[in-house]
């Protein structure tokens, strides 16, 4: 019996060793299949998951020697990561992060100014005015409502067309919105209200809106996806999400509110660190090149580099006219104060709602 036990032990150990070896090999094979790769860069981005792969195609074609590690998360998380790693930055490049968030990182001295090749093609209001710029935009996204037409009809809800509509009592507990503390989209909607109506009136409006909100979600795209699945009929989200879900056949109608949409720029920046890799600059040059700009334009009507791509289906005819007047510096400077106020007022539904 002893020998058989020992035999088992040996076999078991061999098996375990084998499994571990295989695992170790597959593990180390996954991130770097190409052994010829000379350089690798880590890119932090808040672009949508379903966009990144298409965008990256042309970069991979032209720069097969650069391994790009993409780290994607929502705006709040990417910003949190950047700030948390302040003393020991892991990222080389930030790609497509809200400009107002990049400004916060910049205030903390995390950004190395860099003027990428082709900067002159970038709209002036879509990039930092300093020279060389600290951030360079690629496109802009704007708040929009995702309205589920099937559910609206079933529940006899009229389709809201303006911010003013959303606070009507008929929509009580029918609306989902993202938490501005974690979501860039949520934040731009809140600051849009505060900038359009002024702070005092703005908070009054948000108080009224709060009565109708069923849930505050963590990310900006979730309200639209929840609306798409009919869990709740209306989501306050952003244009791209609404248009995309409509085009994919979900019963979603994108609504750009009459009063105007809050907006922010998706921007790039170079991370300040001891050894800045040349590949990081190559990446930033590519990120505003005309070929990738065309791909941005296929998703967004508002791009930093002008292209001949027609406005994607589902957007209004005048996407620039839809935007409110927006002060990014104000957005960045007052972020902490606004979020604290917002959290105090609305975070936690268990609190009796203010009547």
């Amino acid at each position: 019996m002893r020998t058989s036990l020992r035999k088992f032990l040996i076999r078991f150990m061999c098996g375990l060793l084998f499994v571990t070896l295989v695992a170790a090999c597959t593990a180390s094979n996954n991130p770097q299949t190409n052994t010829e790769t000379t350089e690798s860069i880590t890119v932090y981005t808040a672009l949508e998951d379903d966009q990144i792969n298409t965008y990256l195609e042309s970069f991979k074609q032209n720069n097969s020697n650069i391994q790009v590690n993409i780290v994607r998360d929502s705006t709040g998380i990417v910003t949190a990561k950047l700030l948390a790693e302040k003393d020991n930055p892991q990222a080389d490049v930030v790609w497509g992060l809200a400009a107002s968030s990049l400004l916060i990182a910049d205030q903390q001295g995390l950004i190395e100014p860099y003027a990428p090749k082709g900067l002159e093609n970038v709209r002036e209001d879509f990039r930092d005015s300093k020279n060389p710029p600290h951030w360079v935009g690629i496109d802009a996204w704007e708040s929009a409502f995702c309205v589920n037409t099937v559910e609206s009809e079933q529940e006899k809800l009229p389709i809201p067309i303006s911010w003013a509509d959303l606070i009507k009592p008929i929509y009580k507990d029918k609306i989902v919105m993202s938490n501005p503390a974690s979501s860039g989209t949520g934040y731009l909607s809140v600051v849009a209200i505060l900038q359009m109506k002024g702070e005092e009136e703005g908070w009054k409006y948000l108080d009224a809106l709060h009565q109708n909100i069923a849930q505050y979600t963590h990310s900006g795209s979730k309200p639209c996806k929840i609306a798409g699945s009919g869990e709740y009929p209306i989501g306050i989200s952003f244009g791209y999400r609404a248009v995309k879900q409509m085009n994919e056949g979900e019963p979603i109608k994108p609504i750009f509110p009459e009063e105007g949409s809050g907006w922010d720029i998706e921007a790039n920046g170079l991370i300040k660190k001891a050894a800045i890799k040349p590949a990081a600059k190559t990446f930033l040059d590519w990120a505003i090149s005309p070929e990738v700009a065309k791909k941005y334009a296929a998703n967004f009507p508002l791009t930093a580099v002008k292209t001949d791509v027609p406005i994607p289906e589902g957007y209004g005819a005048d996407p620039y006219g839809q935007l409110i007047k927006n002060d990014f510096q104000w957005m960045a400077d007052n972020r902490e104060r606004i979020l604290a106020e917002w959290t105090k007022r609305y975070d936690g539904k268990s609190e009796p709602k203010s009547e």
Binding site: M1, S4, L5, R6, F8, L9, F12, L16, V19, T20, A23, A24, T26, A27, N30, P31, T42, D49, D50, N53, N69, V71, R72, S74, G76, I77, T79, A80, K81, A84, E85, D87, N88, Q90, V150, N179, A181, S182, S183, A214, Q215, Y216, T217, H218, S219, S221, P223, K225, I226, S229, G230, E250, L339, T343, K344, Y346, D347, G348, K349, S350
Partner: protein, 576 residues
Amino acid sequence: MTVTSNRSPISSGKIKPITTSEDWIMRGLLLLGTLWLFVGVVFPLYPMLIRSFYDSNGSWVGLSNYVKYINTPSLSVSFFNSFYIAIVSTIIAVSLALIFSYALTRTAMVGKPWFKILGMLPIYIPPIATAIGLIYLFGNKGLVTTGAFGRLPTWDINLYGANGIILGEVLYVFPQALVILTTALSLTDARLYEAAQALRTSPMRTFLTITIPSVKYGLISAMFVCFILAFTDFGVPKVVGGDFNVLATDIYKQVIGQQNFSMGATISVFLLIPTVFAFVIDRIIQRKQTALVTAKAVPLQPKSNPMLDGIMFAFCSLIVGLILIVFATIILASLVQVWPYNFQLGFKHYNFNNVAGGGYNAYWNSIVMSLYTALLGTIIVFIGAYLVEKGKGLKWLRSLNYFLSTVPLALPGLVLGLAYVFFFNNPSNPLNGLYGTLGILVICNIIHFYTVCFLTASTGLKQIDPEFEAVSASMAVPFYKTFWLVTVPLCLPILLEIGIYYFVNTMVTISAIIFLYPAHIPLAAVAIINMDDAGDIAPAAAMSTLIVLTSMGIRAIYWWGTKGLRKRNQAWLKRS
């Protein structure tokens, strides 16, 4: 632990025992083991506590974070919310588990082996996946809420909020309570019941005066374990909490949403205090426990009682039915094309290319991480337990080691993870190089689940007759040889059990690694969170299904592979 430190009868009394080089090796190892526990458990907590006294810019603010937290009404409400859901979930789960385990151990109900397996099913399901299953059952477009879309009566339980969290937590902690209570109930002396019967005691009175007191300690332990788990769980409230905030989701919001690590640390302290408190009380109570089962005890053979058996069968079927329905719903949701508009089935959601979380890469990483954790964790835990149980001399160090090994049970995963971030991501820490690697995730997981594994190992080691060591020593066989040739083979089933425990828990854990995982190592369970955050709930269900099937697969392979071994092992126990 009470193995005498004397090597021979002569060395008692005034004569000092000879310290050999072997003893020094053992002492060295013991010291090393203690150091490991200090680095893994104690040191990381310090920078976290300190951090709660600083603001986000790094200047000392004393208690003002705490004051701010208590004075923000919506935040301090979470504290009571956490207590509320933890207490309610604990009461429900422990009551259900008590009846369930009573049925398993004390009745002649049919189908016991099946109920035993199926009752444990939730242990393979990440709590966040349970919550996703609940959305598809009880959400606004759920199967139950809409009455299977108009085919059945509708029933809206108002999922989002306290109801959903409690339901999810009950499912999550139920198997944990079940394990403890089944063990407690199976250790009993039939003679007590025979006496009760001879005295014509009513069954109810027998239950209240014999059964309940005999499982008192198990019951208390189950309550504390369930309380700690439900109080600190993050997955369920994240998904079905709606706007019902709890401490765990508050930490997540502060750290991830607002980049406020100091406030995260502050809330962590609020999360830590009650759990440490519960842990200490439990330890004190358990100390009073004395052996109920003596050598003269007669094992209880449950007698058939058609009525009781029938009721119990119905009850257990109900519980197992609920568990199976939740599990089946997760699988169904992962296969349905567009819930609730297109119920065609397909594997569309198993293509993770266009969703957050890292897809199959994350899945493989999780498997690799779990394998490493299982392998290294088992080795470390077992050696640690061996040194404490069978070590000689240095009693104080062994006691300290034992104490430190039980502390991780009281540390919520979120707190441990955040503490590791503060501790290891500090350039002046010599272990800073570990930050952002698979290594730190493995260490964090080993520590996170250390206590249960350690207690399992030390229970197993206690069952081995100290004679083995004594005989080996008298034959001048070094202890490491005895360890390798006798102790390890004898404990093989326990070792494998620990390995499986590590694997399964590492596959499903989120809380300990959510702040810690480096960007280039996406992980499956975290991917579920990220997909749910982005609103991609169907792919999240798909990833959950993969995780559950993998863990169950590993368990099945283990069961099948060790069938013969277990038989042989039991034969050995019988012969001795």
